[in-house]
């Protein structure tokens, strides 16, 4: 086979192992009955993707992937799961009715078929190195030069986005009515009491 003769064996082994890790993690996430197990399978998938990032020469993004996703996002998920105490077994996790699952499956298969056609066709015919050469130095150096020159404004905007997200999360998760104890007859409070009853 021509393909096997050109690809170096170590890279092929790393690729196959990480694909197996990704597949086990992804399928496990879908089939896990407890949310905590799903979160741990998510970590597994994210590590597999990080390995693929390294194999493609994106070392910085692999590190960020592990630190931000596995280190922060999944911990946030686990915190919320534990805070809410929702780690109960999901009743009929696959929604029970086969019609809905079947429709979802058909839709996913259609998406996959389309993506396979795109992936095996003429998929990389664009102009090369439009935003700058990737191979002109170390990965972090090239990324930093691009972020702090060409993409400086979007980078500053992400700072604003993160501040907005933090403020929004604090406001959303604050217990409503803690400091407005005098407003007992407010519509929100009475509505909440009705719901709780």
């Amino acid at each position: 086979m021509i393909v096997a003769s050109v690809i170096s064996v170590p890279q092929l082994i790393v690729f196959i192992v990480s694909v197996v890790i990704i597949a086990i993690g992804g399928v496990g996430l879908l089939t896990a009955r407890y949310p905590v197990h799903a979160a741990l399978f998510l970590v597994m998938t994210l590590f597999g993707v990080a390995i693929l990032f390294i194999e493609e020469g994106a070392e910085f993004l692999a590190a960020v992937q592990v630190v931000v996703y596995a280190g922060a996002v999944v911990v946030l998920f686990l915190f919320v799961i534990m805070l809410l105490g929702v780690d109960r077994e999901e009743i009929a996790s696959f929604a029970g009715d086969t019609v809905r699952v079947g429709l979802a499956g058909v839709g996913v298969v259609l998406i996959l078929a389309e993506l396979f056609v795109v992936a095996t066709g003429a998929w990389a015919t664009g102009a090369h190195s439009v935003a700058g050469k990737l191979s002109s130095g170390s990965n972090i150096g090239v990324l930093a030069r691009s972020v702090f020159t060409t993409y400086l404004l979007p980078f500053e905007l992400t700072a604003a986005l993160l501040v907005i997200a933090v403020v929004g999360a604090v406001i959303l998760s604050r217990r409503m009515g803690v400091e407005t104890t005098t407003l007992d007859s407010s519509p929100i409070e009475s509505g909440r009491r009705e719901v709780e009853q």
């Binding site: 170096s8 999901e90 429709l103 935003a131 090239v142 998760s173």
Partner: protein, 101 residues
């Protein structure tokens, strides 16, 4: 010789399909959220693959910004889930149907 880029694209497509199926079929909002993260990661893998194939730094920059937006999205989304749980004591989507017409 390195692995051809189309192999990575196929892996990313499969990962995206898994995430889509999870969003469409699971009932727990938190698990649906995790499936969305799966889809975002599949797209990130596609970006990195194209960045390598076209020798273009723009793909990796895009992944960088997707990571930031995903982190912000998770923070706000989990805040909404906590707020909903305070009101309804459930995170099953079938029970959260007040906005239904």
């Amino acid at each position: 010789m390195t692995i051809p880029g189309s192999w990575y694209l196929v892996v990313a497509a499969l990962l995206f399909g898994l995430g889509t199926f999870g969003v469409l079929t699971r009932r727990n909002v938190i698990v649906m959220f995790m499936s969305v993260e799966l889809m975002l990661n599949a797209v990130n893998l596609t970006f990195v693959t194209y960045a390598r194939m076209l020798n273009d730094v723009g793909g990796q920059i895009a992944v960088f910004f997707v990571l930031v937006v995903a982190a912000a999205e998770v923070v706000v989304g989990l805040g909404i889930i906590v707020a909903i749980f305070r009101h309804r004591a459930t995170v099953t989507v079938d029970d959260i149907s007040s906005l239904k017409g």
